[in-house]
Subunit: 200 residues, 2 copies
Amino acid sequence: MTVLYPNRKRSNFNHVNEDKSKIGNTYSNRGMSLEDDLNLTNLYYLSNGIANIHKKPTPIQIVKVDYPKRSAAVIREAYFKQPSTTDYNGIYKEKYIDFEAKETNNKSSFPLQNFHSHQIKHMQSVIKHGGIAFVILKFSMYNEIYFLKASDILAFWDRQENGGKKSISKAEVEQVGILIKTSYPDFVPYLKCIDELYQL
Amino acid sequence: MTVLYPNRKRSNFNHVNEDKSKIGNTYSNRGMSLEDDLNLTNLYYLSNGIANIHKKPTPIQIVKVDYPKRSAAVIREAYFKQPSTTDYNGIYKEKYIDFEAKETNNKSSFPLQNFHSHQIKHMQSVIKHGGIAFVILKFSMYNEIYFLKASDILAFWDRQENGGKKSISKAEVEQVGILIKTSYPDFVPYLKCIDELYQL
């Protein structure tokens, strides 16, 4: 099967919809994804001098490149690679910021298999070095977005490692997380949670 | 012209040699590049719990993807995009670290056209938000690697913007930069310069 990527009206936002899991979905048939919203949020933060936070490009293993001329090299064979870190990082009020964004269609829980062990290790490392690590979690069915500290995610991960539940229930997310109220023009104003939690 | 990427003995290091400028070069015919050395340095820092600093993947605009089965999607048409930030970032001793690595074959100067205006803007923004921004510059002909604070690069950039020289002379690099002595096992121990400059 061959999938052509649809033209993007928002082509000025880098990396939008490059995620393997989103191939074949367009804005028109799925609405704004969490990633799209976060890109707009980060653009708002950047252009207003509030923070400098970016999504990292999707890692690709390139195998074959054609180039009729150097300025127009075409990649003809490449593969998606698993990222070795979380997707977003940057700086806010002198602090190193690092997070992962996840979306689920589940109604009652968030499956921990959405995290890879290297992402868990990465979050542990960021905390150890004094950075602010967290996860932004969207329950698509309710259109609810939560901010969860990495330390809470790590506790749920440890519970699983010790034979416990393989998911975080929605009730638990509501208990430990902060519901982010989406707004305009800052879309998903997650830095407000950091201000609140870390008193910045 | 079609170029097949050579097999990489060091395939465990992400993003090595994905740079467009390096297509067709192999380790055997060009020696270790600055990027290779920095990947080894960062791996050393990461695995020894010293810092968590990564190179960002090369941004790619994906146009067409084939997938006979979901687990083996093949990108069949994609293009290199210009990065909107610098190549490396991460955390060290609670500080946000951000830098660009550049290599030149020039003997007497480093041409400023190696920087894009958005990289310059990015460095200005990082400084404004309280991060540590710098450039690692290699004069390949001398096998010399220098650490230059972003503020110095920005001063040379401003000189150019005001009608001055379009390059930084090697003498100027020697004057404002710190020569990094390569070693083993930490390869290009650039964090020592940060310790020295910022008294961390």
